[in-house]
C-alpha cells in the first residue's frame, strides 16, 4: 500500500501521528501512572510547577495539574471522537442521498444543510447544551448536530462526481441495485476524503468542547482541559500556569490532528502538489 508510504513520507504528518499516539497513550495509561485521580486534593492550591511532588503545579483546588491534564485528555479525545463519528454518520446519510439521487432530494437536503451553516453554529450549540442541561451526552450531541453539515457537503460532492463516473454507469448497466452500487462502488471511493475531513473535525470538536467547558456549559462532574482553563480565569492573575498548561495541551493535540488530516489529504490525491 504505497498510500502509507506517501502518508509517512511527510514530516508533518509523521510528527502529527506520533504526537497523537503519545497523547492517546497518556490518556489511557493515566490510571496506571498516577496513583491518585484528577480530583484528589494533594496540597495547598496554586503551587507553581516544580513544587515538591508537583510536576505541573497545583490548581485552584489544590489538585495535581499533571494528573488533571492526563485525565483531561480522556474527556477531550472522547468528546472529539464520538461527536465526529455521529456527525460523520449523519453527514454520510444525508450527503449520500443528496449526492446519489440528485434533483429535488438534493435541492431540499442542500437547502437544509445550508440553513444549518447560516445559523451561527456556536450560538445554536450553546442553546442546545444549556437546554439539555450541561453533560457529556449533551455536549457530544450538540457538537454532532452543528458539525454534520461539513461532512454532508464533502460526501455530497464526492457522490455527485463519482455518480457520473463511468464505472458507476457500468455497474448500473450490469444490473446492480442502487444500494449495492452505493456501498460497493461509490462509498469505498468516497471514504478517503471523508477520513481526511473527519480527522480535522475531531480537532475542531475538541476546540468546541473546550469552549463550552470554558463558558461553564461543560459537564461539571468531568475535568476537561476547557474546564481547567475556565476555572483559571481569576486564578490566572496570581498563577499563570493554571490557564497556560491546559491551553497548550489542547493546541498540541489539535495541531497533531490537523497535521494528520493534511497528511491524509496529500497522500490521497497526490496531484495536489506541496
Amino acid at each position: 500500500m504505497n498510500f502509507a508510504r506517501r502518508f509517512f513520507s511527510r514530516p508533518a504528518a509523521m510528527f502529527g501521528f506520533a504526537v497523537f499516539v503519545a497523547i492517546v497513550m497518556i490518556a489511557l495509561a493515566a490510571p496506571l501512572v498516577f496513583a491518585r485521580g484528577p480530583f484528589n486534593i494533594v496540597g495547598m492550591p496554586l503551587l507553581p510547577p516544580g513544587a515538591p511532588g508537583l510536576l505541573a503545579g497545583s490548581d485552584i483546588l489544590g489538585r495535581d495539574m499533571a494528573v488533571g491534564l492526563a485525565y483531561g485528555a480522556r474527556v477531550s479525545l472522547l468528546v472529539g471522537v464520538t461527536s465526529t463519528l455521529c456527525a460523520v454518520g449523519i453527514g454520510i446519510l444525508l450527503g449520500a442521498t443528496a449526492g446519489y439521487y440528485g434533483g429535488l432530494v438534493d435541492d431540499l437536503l442542500m437547502r437544509f444543510t445550508e440553513f444549518f451553516q447560516i445559523i451561527p453554529s456556536f450560538v445554536l450549540l450553546m442553546v442546545l447544551v444549556a437546554f439539555m442541561q450541561p453533560s457529556l451526552a449533551s455536549t457530544v450531541i450538540g457538537i454532532a448536530l452543528i458539525s454534520w453539515p461539513q461532512v454532508a457537503r464533502v460526501v455530497r460532492g464526492e457522490f455527485l462526481s463519482l455518480r457520473s463516473r463511468e464505472f458507476v454507469e457500468a455497474a448500473r448497466v450490469l444490473g446492480m441495485r442502487d444500494a449495492r452500487i452505493i456501498f460497493t462502488q461509490i462509498l469505498p471511493n468516497a471514504l478517503p476524503p471523508i477520513v481526511a475531513v473527519s480527522s480535522m473535525m475531531v480537532g475542531s470538536a475538541i476546540l468546541t468542547e473546550s469552549a463550552l467547558a470554558f463558558l461553564g456549559l461543560g459537564d461539571p462532574n468531568l475535568l476537561s482541559w476547557g474546564s481547567m482553563i475556565g476555572g483559571a480565569r481569576s486564578a490566572m492573575w496570581v498563577a499563570w500556569w493554571t490557564p497556560v498548561l491546559p491551553g497548550l495541551s489542547i493546541m498540541v493535540t489539535v495541531l497533531a490532528l490537523n497535521f494528520i488530516g493534511d497528511g491524509l489529504n496529500d497522500a490521497l490525491n497526490p496531484r495536489r502538489r506541496h
Binding site: F115, I118, F214, V244, P246, G247
Partner: protein, 324 residues
C-alpha cells in the same frame, strides 16, 4: 441579469429568516423552566400567586401555536418582545450592543483579510521556500489554538504582566470621555480582543490565498500571459491574484457564522459589551426572548453578509449570470 440574481438571493434570505424564527421558537420553548421561574428565582421570594400573574403577563399560559403566531407577527414589525430578566424591549437591548460587535468584527475581518492575503501571496510566490513553510506552520498553529485561550494569553501577557493595554470592556469605566479622547480610549480597548478574533481568520485567509494562488498559477492562461512577455509582477497581480480572489470572496461568506461564534467567546474573555456577551448572559439566565432575538439578528446579519459576498462574487467572476 444581475437584478434577478439579487432578487433570488433576497427571497432566499427571507425564507431563511422565517426558518430561523420557526426553529428557534420551538427550540427555546422546549427548554425546561420559563420566564416566571426565572423572575421568581431572582426576586428571592416567589409564591404561587406571583408566579401565576407573571405567566399571564407574558402570555406564557396560552397554547403554543397561539404564542408562536402572536410572536411571528410582532417579530415582523421588528419588535422582538421584551426581555424577561431586564423588563426592556429586546430590540433596544440588541441594537444597543450590536454596534460594539460589528465594530469588533469589522476590525478583526479587516486585519485578517489584509494580513492574510499579504502573507498568502508572499508564500505563494516562492512555494516550498522557508517563508512559505513558515506561513503554513503559522496558519496551522492559529488553526489549532482555542480562541478563548488565545485571548486569555493576550490578557496574561499584555495586562497582567506588562500592563500595557486595558484588557476588559470597550472604554475606561466611568471616564465619560468625548470626541477624539473617547475614540482613542476605544481604540486602545479594541486592540486585544480585535487581534485575538483576527488571528484565527488571518490564518485561514493566508492558507486559502496561498492554495488558491498556487492552483491558479498552474492554469494555462497564466502561461499565455507569460507568453505575452509581460512582467512577472503584472502576471501575479493582473492574472493570478485577480482569479485567486474569487474563492476568497466565497470563503468570506462562509466565515460570517463562524465569526459570530468566535465573537461570543472573545467578547466573553474581554467583557466586550457586544451581543456575544449578551448571548451568554441570556443562555445562563434563561432569557428566551433575548436569546431568540440574538438568534434572528445574527442569522439575518449572516444572510446579509452572504448576500453581499454573493454579489461581490458575481462581480468578481463574470461567468456567473444566474445564481447557482
Amino acid at each position: 441579469m444581475k437584478l434577478r440574481y439579487i432578487a433570488a438571493r433576497l427571497v432566499k434570505t427571507v425564507l431563511v429568516a422565517i426558518a430561523v424564527v420557526v426553529l428557534s421558537f420551538f427550540l427555546i420553548r422546549l427548554a425546561p423552566g420559563d420566564a416566571a421561574t426565572v423572575m421568581a428565582g431572582q426576586s428571592g421570594y416567589a409564591d404561587e400567586a406571583f408566579m401565576k400573574d407573571l405567566r399571564a403577563e407574558y402570555g406564557l399560559d396560552q397554547p403554543l401555536p397561539a404564542q408562536f403566531w402572536k410572536y411571528a407577527v410582532t417579530v415582523a414589525q421588528g419588535d422582538l418582545g421584551t426581555s424577561y430578566v431586564r423588563r426592556q424591549k429586546v430590540t433596544t437591548i440588541i441594537l444597543e450592543r450590536l454596534p460594539n460587535t460589528l465594530l469588533l468584527d469589522a476590525f478583526a475581518l479587516l486585519v485578517a483579510a489584509a494580513g492574510g492575503i499579504w502573507l498568502g501571496s508572499m508564500a505563494a510566490r516562492r512555494p516550498g521556500s522557508a517563508g512559505d513553510s513558515a506561513v503554513t506552520v503559522l496558519s496551522m498553529l492559529f488553526y489549532a489554538v482555542p480562541q478563548f485561550w488565545l485571548g486569555m494569553m493576550m490578557v496574561l501577557v499584555f495586562a497582567v504582566w506588562l500592563a500595557w493595554l486595558p484588557p476588559f470592556g470597550i472604554e475606561t469605566m466611568g471616564s465619560d470621555y468625548t470626541g477624539l479622547a473617547r475614540v482613542g480610549d476605544i481604540a486602545q480597548h479594541i486592540i486585544l480582543p480585535g487581534t485575538t478574533l483576527a488571528l484565527y481568520f488571518l490564518a485561514s485567509y493566508a492558507r486559502l490565498t496561498r492554495t488558491a494562488m498556487i492552483e491558479v498559477a498552474d492554469q494555462d492562461f497564466v502561461k499565455t500571459a507569460r507568453a505575452k512577455g509581460i512582467s512577472e509582477r503584472q502576471v501575479a497581480r493582473r492574472h493570478i491574484l485577480r482569479n485567486a480572489l474569487i474563492p476568497l470572496v466565497t470563503y468570506a461568506g462562509l466565515q460570517a457564522s463562524i465569526l459570530v461564534g468566535g465573537s461570543v467567546l472573545v467578547e466573553n474573555v474581554f467583557s466586550w459589551p457586544g451581543i456575544g456577551t449578551l448571548a451568554y448572559e441570556a443562555v445562563t439566565s434563561r432569557d428566551n426572548p433575548v436569546l431568540l432575538g440574538i438568534f434572528i439578528v445574527t442569522a439575518l446579519l449572516v444572510c446579509l453578509f452572504n448576500l453581499i459576498t454573493d454579489i461581490a462574487y458575481s462581480i468578481a467572476d463574470p461567468r456567473v449570470e444566474l445564481g447557482k
